[in-house]
Amino acid sequence: MPIITIREALNQAIREELARDERVFLMGEEVAEYDGAYKVTKGLLKEFGPKRVIDSPITELGFAGLGVGAAMVGLRPIIEFMTFNFSILATDQIINSAAKMLYMSGGQFNIPIVFRGPSGSAFQVSSQHSQAIESWYAHFPGLKVVMPSTAADAKGLLKSAIRDDDPVIFMEQERMYGNKGEVPDDPDFTIPLGVADVKREGTDVTIVARSLMVPVALKAADKLQEQGVSCEVIDPRTIRPLDIDTIIDSVKKTNRVVLAEESHPICGINAEISTQIMERAFDHLDAPVKRVSGIDVPMPYAKNLENLVVPDVDRLIAAVKEVAYLD
């Protein structure tokens, strides 16, 4: 299998879907002439022309709304936010229009739209441009929220998201575009939404991690294995709908769980997963569920402070040892 970056995997997914279905089009800031702020849309304008790959003005609420309208009349828009920090301006269209249209139109209008772009912590871009806001979108019925952690998942899940008939929030981790991995080149390769992936099997502690936390969890698991602690790493890949069954099965096996995320702890996805574990696997827990989240402060600009905010291998190892009653 070819080994490519997440950036290239996303590019392949969009290219293949543009070629596969002429109702699919791409719109966003700098996606066409400039090949995308993060070069995810490289070469697409050239290949598909200005009707399918459209540069928008700097008006997130406006072009998100254009996308929702286009979806209502039968097109399948991919709306790129330069980063999800700017999607905050478009939340009225995303939450009030896209998410609720099918319900409020009595089933007349489904909205097959993908809102995608980089999300999560970046390097030294400070509080407003470095944050994980997936729990905002996951809160609302009507939206699906996807967060891939590998090149293959990025491609397979984005293709499924584009083919999905409902609005999908597709969050790419800004630090991870250059991460490489094996990706099938089969144009029909897709990964269904709502299915978790066991990234590593283990017996002692379950680590649930998504996005940037998956490679961190895998590194922590390697180090813990040297100390005789076997960790199972589960990547839900889709936050909503959440594949809680896979997590529960794992907790029933290991009896201990650490939840890793780079977002803030309060009202976060880990809080939700923790509750569902308590509701469904209480009698299988040998230790309280342990969350490892981003520190509850706006992201600092200073490198040393930024490093302290984003959970790292050491914090995960300490959490695993705590739930495993080691040290």
């Binding site: 009896n255 009698d283 299988h284 827990l285 040998d286 009653y325």
Partner: protein, 434 residues
Amino acid sequence: MASKVIMPKLSPTMEEGQIARWLKKEGDKVSMGEPLAEIDTDKATMEMQALANGVLRKILINDGESAPLGQLIAVIGEPDEDIATLLSEASAASSTPAPSPTPAPAPTSTEVEAPSAAPVPEANGHAAPVATAPASGRMVVSPLAARMAAEAGIDLRSLQGSGPGGRIIKRDIEAAMSQPASTTVSTGTFPRAVEPLRFQPAAVAAASPYRDEPASEIRRTIARRLVTSIGPVPHFFLTSEIEMDRAAEMRRGINALDPDLKISVNDIVIKVVATALVQHPAVNASFQDKFIRYYEHADIGVAVAIEDGLITPVIRGADQKSLSQIAGEVREMAERARSRKLKPEEYTGATFSISNLGMFGIDEFTAVINPPEGGILAVGAMAAKPVVRDSEIVIRQMMRVTMSCDHRVIDGATGAKFLQTVKKILENPLYLVV
């Protein structure tokens, strides 16, 4: 750091325990896991192990005395450690009457049982200081450990948690499970806890003298259990007379095949009752307040008289067992019941019981249901009697059985049909093989 030895919970229904005997004396060295004392619970005599290393500094509850669950009964510590604080807490918490300077009217050892933690009033009328925390303070257990302990029948009070704040966690249960010694029943002979007391003269002139002996744990449990039966459970009784000639003949025939089998009439009754129960699921049932529980198999409790009381070892799935299996199990369990070595899971959870007083020459009697079972069959003696068959008086081996039914789950006709089946099979035991 001195550690408290508390009265552990050694059986599912135990509420207090009596020290049968201490296996260590004050001043003896003890190490963790070593047997410390034998405790007479409501059902069996169990060994209690030390949960700490050190010296047995103080015994607070002596041989023959009782203490409620969780009460401090001894202290283990370093030889020179100051344990005064621990002991003063204990004396405040315990209700054991302190020796009174003025002669009290003949205290008897029954007085030691009052289990309340109520403060003992002092002479000036003020309450003595209450213990800061009861020795049976709230246990901290992980949900998984709690479930594992319940499934394995491990008493959490006998464990010390290795998690933060003494939380009992999975590995503590696993450790306890790999140490069968901690729950095994004492193999020593069952010592009488209390020497018989002398008779006391009665206070009323000419009335008979009497003596008060502490009611043993098992006697008190029997009392408590039976009151919960005949009171709240609406009993009714059905009696039937059964011709036992063929069953007796079958028994002779089987035992002639192999004298080691030693099948008794009671074994045949167990087998027949079990067979009839699965044919009458409405009788193999238990009233559980909001629902009625119907059992797939017949787990038969067989009442066995033991010194001081009775106990009902359970023959699991008797409907599926052969007569020789039943006979072997009954014999083996009755033997262990008499030496009080039955495990709790071996004498609880029957679906129906049988009580046989035939060996005492009782013709017929009624038995008290053991809740939550739906019924019990009282079996009388088999005896040759004149009966009328085809208008002629002939001699037959007759046996009377009386079934007590819980009317909440078994109605008269339901019970009667069941008894009819029992009678039919006992009179023609060939039904067992067709």
